[in-house]
């Protein structure tokens, strides 16, 4: 029983971290209608930007997160405008392929500057909190709190601001949105800034727990995809639900299979979901 409860807690924690970049991926997918593989490199860039702010410049984690958000948001917009935007007319698959190439370029820029060595954040060491038999790391708890705050901010933004409403309108029906005077080019830029920024923040949150290297983002890419597909591609609440479900599924599966197969759990979960309920938990259309 304790084992199950601990797995549940760990699953919710890792799920909440994956949810942040998954929201970024889903936002871009919902508005621009292509799966952006470059979010892996955005997560890596965010992780390194925050590492630089924290371990080199000596800032605490929260300002470092803000820096990571801004840096990856700008990188994302510049990358989108220079290398992906003109391909949008050629179909989602072409943009997706270009985003893989873009990912390779950005990942290697990070490698060129920082090398392949693992880097860790400068964090105070702290003992695990214990509740009876259950253990929770204070760092994990802080990351969880941060991701909840970020998600809440994102929902408030989408629900109440002009840009948020416009984004949802474009995601819902681009033609109708244009008729209402919403400029799709501006919405695209805002969406990419947010999506890339959130991926960057996600990279930091995931790196806080362990260490970072140029492949940090690529390693979580599959989990992000799995979360997005489980929740329903293009649905932002779905990305959160999918990420939490994935986190729990991973932790439960790890009771039975070796820990090295963690990423494989996401893959199996996608296959099962696509076989029985392709539109995902909260999604609308898949065919």
């Amino acid at each position: 029983m304790t084992l199950l409860l601990q797995a549940l807690i760990n699953g919710l924690m890792t799920g909440a971290l994956i949810a942040v970049p998954a929201i970024g991926f889903s936002a871009i997918f919902a508005v621009l209608r292509y799966p952006n593989f470059a979010i892996a490199s955005y997560a890596t860039i965010g992780a390194f930007a925050a590492w630089w702010a924290n371990a080199v410049a000596g800032l605490p984690i929260i300002p470092a997160l803000a820096i990571a958000f801004a840096v990856t948001g700008v990188v994302g917009v510049v990358a989108e405008e220079t290398s992906l935007k003109r391909l949008r007319d050629n179909g989602a698959l072409i943009v997706a392929i270009a985003s893989i190439a873009l990912n390779l370029v950005l990942e290697n820029i990070v490698r060129f500057i920082f090398g392949n060595d693992m880097k860790g954040y400068d964090l105070p060491l702290a003992r695990d909190l214990r509740f009876g038999e259950l253990r929770i790391g204070p760092q994990q708890l802080q990351s969880l709190a941060l991701s909840v705050v970020i998600m809440a901010a994102m929902f408030l933004f989408l629900r109440y601001t002009r840009f948020g409403k416009a984004m949802r309108a474009v995601a819902d029906n681009p033609d109708l949105a244009r008729l209402k005077g919403i400029d799709p080019a501006r919405i695209a830029i805002v969406t990419v800034f947010l999506g890339a920024g959130l991926s960057g923040v996600g990279g930091v949150l995931i790196g806080l727990d362990t260490s970072i290297d140029p492949l940090t983002g690529y390693r979580v890419l599959l989990s992000v995809f799995a979360a997005a597909v489980l929740g329903g591609l293009g649905s932002i609440p779905g990305a959160v639900v999918g990420a939490l479900a994935l986190g729990i599924a991973e932790e439960l599966a790890l009771i039975a299979v070796p820990a090295t197969y963690r990423t494989a759990v996401g893959f199996v979960a996608i296959l099962i979901m696509l076989t029985f309920r392709p539109r995902g938990i909260l999604g609308e259309r898949a065919a």
Partner: protein, 304 residues
């Protein structure tokens, strides 16, 4: 120098098969397989394990073809009815899972140590140099045969149906074509060709490990097919040769740059691949050898 040229040309042939595999599925029915490296690995391991257990090399290659096709069917079964982006995501995940299995199932794959001493056909009889030349000839011959078959397929009614599905699958379904069956068959055949390429690679290197099957290979092949011309087998083959030459050229070019760490040189080379792919997609998306759409045969005018 000669052995370097032979080595590079053999690698060109192996990549050409992968490019033909991708072109069949992408240029054919318009699906993308981001897990090419995974199918490549499946074929390599299937043949290495089969021949390691005592089977002759030809049986090993046959096993690679069969296992590749079956795995292709399993991976795509759940996704082919859905939008194309789902398949892209699933195939990417598949390649990663294959790498995990190769790393962790030591009883089958020897884990990260890899499988060494894979049978090299006729190596004892021909000697080292003779074997390299013989193997280059064999790989080139297989590329030619597969190329000729796929070209023939392109011109057949089957090929026309595939391209109809690529252009508009609803219309193709409306015209009575069984879209799902065509997609499954095309994907299975494409996966089998990628697996065969992997088997050729395994017996060429005589050593394989999970590190040989990085996702980067998939990107090389995408660059090859896009640069050569999507939808044209000749373009795919040409593209593969060009990509290997380009890869070798970046090796020499980066050696000239002074004062860089090895990791920076490696990073520069990978960057160049990514930039090249983005540039091709922007500047010449139809490739060097654009697809030729044959004219529709003239209908005999009904005589009134």
């Amino acid at each position: 120098m000669l052995s370097y040229v032979i080595f590079t040309l053999t690698l060109c042939g192996i990549y050409a098969l992968l490019a033909l595999s991708l072109n069949l599925i992408w240029g054919g029915v318009g699906l993308v397989n981001l897990g090419l490296a995974g199918f490549f690995a499946v074929g390599a391991y299937a043949s290495a394990i089969a021949t390691g257990a005592g089977a002759p090399v030809l049986i090993g290659w046959g096993a690679a073809l069969v296992v590749g096709a079956v795995v292709g069917l399993v991976v795509t079964f759940a996704t082919l009815r859905l939008r194309d982006d789902y398949l892209a995501i699933v195939t990417l995940g598949f390649a990663e899972v294959i790498r995990l299995v190769a790393l962790n199932e030591r009883w089958l794959t020897k884990g990260s140590d890899g499988i060494s001493g894979i049978k090299a056909p006729l190596k004892a009889e021909l000697g080292l140099q003779g074997f390299s030349i013989f193997y280059l000839g064999l790989v080139t011959l297989i590329v030619l045969v597969v190329w000729a078959l796929l070209r023939r397929l392109d011109l057949s009614p089957y090929g026309r149906t595939m391209k109809a599905i690529r252009e508009d699958q609803q219309l193709a379904a409306f015209a009575g074509k069984t879209v799902l069956r065509f997609k499954l068959q095309a994907f299975a055949l494409s996966a089998a060709i990628a697996a065969l390429s992997g088997a050729l690679y395994a017996h060429f290197q005589s050593y394989i490990s999970p590190d040989h099957f990085q996702p980067l290979i998939t990107i090389y092949i995408f660059l090859a097919v896009t640069a050569g011309g999507v939808g044209r087998p000749s373009g795919a083959v040409l593209g593969a040769y060009l990509v290997v030459i380009f890869l070798e050229a970046t090796r020499f070019a980066t050696e000239w740059l002074p004062g860089l760490q090895p990791v920076q040189i490696a990073a520069m080379r990978e960057m160049m691949i990514g930039v090249a792919l983005i540039l091709v997609l922007h500047l010449r998306p139809q490739g060097i050898m654009p697809e030729r759409i044959p004219k529709a045969p003239r209908q005999p005018t009904p005589s009134a």
